[in-house]
Symmetry: C2
Subunit: 433 residues, 2 copies
């Protein structure tokens, strides 16, 4: 029996979305499942842990959920910035991706996991080539991941990729001993013909896994959908039947009122990616309207080709900041709402809210300690404000996934960083030669 | 003779705006003045330093210039978020500011300096009450500062404040033994009647110091100016003669084409404050158009009431990101331009480009070392891209102002942080009781 106990921290549980800061509480987990969160004096210990974690001077909260990324794209970081999306994809990204081998994906993903663990991310939704290799990196690091292999209808081997994705998904969908939650990932409506989408929907239903897709990212996406379907992307996908299964949709920038209604009614998970959307000049998603309509809204970093980091806390700040200027209203997406999107909202966007996203008995123990000993976190008017508007990823002191400590006192426990640096440097040199 | 030498770092000098990364260069400074930046083998040492600074694994560049802030407002951090500007100022900020005493300003400013030094800021342009106390905090910490006492025409003691500001400015304007560069600070066109502005302009000319002012921050500012002057704020201030002396103008969000021309022609320094402008829903300043017109454009954090931190690197990232979505063009404000705004552009905005903003012989030695040993800074396609799009303030390893090391290996050398925490906590408790 593995017992984890965290004592002395201030705690935000996010249970039911609650952002109240609790003093004098303790968290206990047994074999990776949270068994107690409450006043220290009321704890009936399961047994004594080897060594309780001292959370004094820290804030304990659920780990951040990165609801959309392509982790191995750390390999592309800084290789092509300040470009429009289409030439960026067609000239800079896809030609290099065509050369990727399994080692590249393993170490690119490992570097991404290292970066995320340092930044307090405890779960990431990943769409990329060689998903079985990305998943291997996550398993080796002890990270929670929703892997999916990207399905592009425009590729000659689309059939083969779908068969492989079914196989891969089936392998992991039956196992609950690992922190791996597979999805199926048709890339986007504009890159997947209707027949492929329909077969993926059928497979998702059969395998009981969600679909991960890019949706309504740019104006051009809307124009392409109008041309193909005579409808905007969300309405077209509704008509195709995509939302008859659980869907995690990245971006959702260009939505009209009807689109927003559909996203909310069909309970589509939205991964709002403000950093990537700004950097590629895609636009600003209607986050507050989606929340008001009752959608499942989380946050994503997108890949390091377009962000250029995997810092989910930065996305939370960006989400809070840009919503205000988008709506010309400084009261929208306040700090507590941004914090919800970064945690329980992300879990909802991935259909994982029953197991992660808040600190409650019965859920898996994915949590972080944020060190409050920094000038930018003083004085202490509001810790929720400080988290969203002033803290940085580097303030994360400890990251725990499924009850296992992956980072403590800014040191990783499961990843050899020097090897990761060497391997990604090798890969980058070969790929960009 | 105090000799500082930094060896083994990669160097971006920013001389003439150059962002090329140099390998194998050394920097030497004698008594705070840079005497050599160039290939290590060509250095003719002034003498041997006590201990050369090892920059290996780091990037050496000019310190960041925070071209607009109210440092003591660290005291307000997190006390009132997600509110519109006018009730925020009138209900939350000004009533508390009326209670500020000298101790509050000293420790609030000291905490802000600590935060900035940790974030690689080596100079800040500060407008606040009790400027002589803020300047005392900067002198005690060894920080470079442009202090100015805020002049509000709407206050009953405006006359007294102007006399005090003249006195204070005269005291420091004659001294070049300190890193203190005073300015005069009429708060804004909408809070200062024309007569007061004219008297401040006259004083600035007489004392040979620049003016620091808020300008065209909100739509309401534009409306107020139209009502008072029948012109937009920039055109009104031009007509009043403000730009006949050097001016550092914060915000400059709401500018039309003629305004942009005037700002460029009159060489007005602009402190672009994207974080504050987003958070208060003020808008997005036309940074690229100002740069294209040839204006002096730097970056500011604004005060912690509206930001909520003093992280200039975050402002550089925000400036690069929001320009793209503002102009619907991902090629505007690329990484090198953002880096220029954060360094030499800021120096230009403060009329200090002859002494800081780049690493060149003859300038004062204000510089930082950024530690590159982090997952989010790998692989190494472009260090300029990594700085702007992926690095964080916490990657700053060493901060040097006027040749003095104020922070090394994440430890401050001149500020007692525990005392600062205790004092600002006391102040916050009293002020917000």
């Amino acid at each position: 029996m593995a017992i984890l106990r965290i004592e002395g921290a201030q705690i935000i549980t996010m249970a039911g979305g609650d952002t109240e800061v609790r003093q004098g509480w303790t968290l206990e987990a047994v074999d990776g499942e949270i068994t107690y969160v409450g006043p220290a004096e009321d704890l009936e210990p399961a047994a004594e842990p080897d060594e309780p974690i001292d959370g004094s001077g820290c804030l304990l909260l659920p780990g951040f959920v990165n609801a959309h990324t392509h982790a191995a794209m750390t390999l592309f970081r800084g290789s092509a910035d300040d470009m429009p999306l289409t030439p960026w994809l067609e000239e800079k990204i896809w030609p290099v991706e065509a050369k990727l081998d399994e080692q590249d994906v393993y170490w690119g993903t490992t570097l991404g996991i290292a970066e995320m663990v340092f930044a307090g991310v405890t779960c990431f939704n990943d769409m990329y080539h060689h998903p079985e290799i990305g998943a291997r990196a996550a398993i080796d690091a002890g990270m929670r991941m929703c892997p999916s292999g990207v399905l592009l209808g425009i590729l000659p081997n689309a059939e083969e990729l779908l068969a492989a994705a079914r196989e891969f998904t089936r392998e992991f969908a039956d196992r609950d001993d690992l922190c791996i939650h597979p999805m199926l990932a048709p890339h986007a409506p504009y890159t997947c013909p209707r027949e492929l989408l329909e077969r993926v929907i059928e497979a998702a239903r059969e395998l009981a896994v969600p679909i991960h897709i890019h949706l309504a990212e740019t104006e051009q996406n809307v124009a392409a959908s109008m041309e193909t379907y005579g409808r905007r992307p969300v309405q077209a996908m509704d008509e195709v039947g995509l939302f008859s299964v659980p869907v995690s949709a990245a971006h959702c920038v260009h939505l009209d009122e009807r689109d927003i209604e559909i996203v909310a009614e069909r309970q589509v998970g939205v991964a709002h990616c403000p950093g990537s959307n700004l950097k590629l000049a895609s636009g600003m998603a209607p986050a507050q309207a989606l929340l008001d309509a009752g959608a499942r809204v989380g946050l994503g970093t997108d890949g390091c080709g377009s962000n250029n980091n995997l810092d989910l806390l930065e996305e939370a700040r960006l989400a809070a900041l840009i919503a205000k200027v988008r709506e010309d209203d400084p009261t929208v997406v306040p700090a507590d709402v941004a914090l919800r999107m970064a945690t329980i909202g992300g879990a909802q966007a991935l259909y994982l809210e029953d197991i992660i996203g808040s600190l409650e008995p019965g859920k898996r123990c994915d949590c972080i300690l944020v060190d409050l000993d920094a000038p930018h976190l003083h004085p202490r008017h509001s810790l929720v404000s400080h988290l969203i508007y002033s803290a940085r990823a580097s303030d994360v002191h400890t990251t725990i996934v499924d009850g296992n400590v992956l980072m403590h006192d800014r040191a990783l426990t499961t990843i050899d960083l020097d090897e990761a640096y060497a391997r990604v440097t090798e890969s980058a040199e070969r790929l960009f030669r």
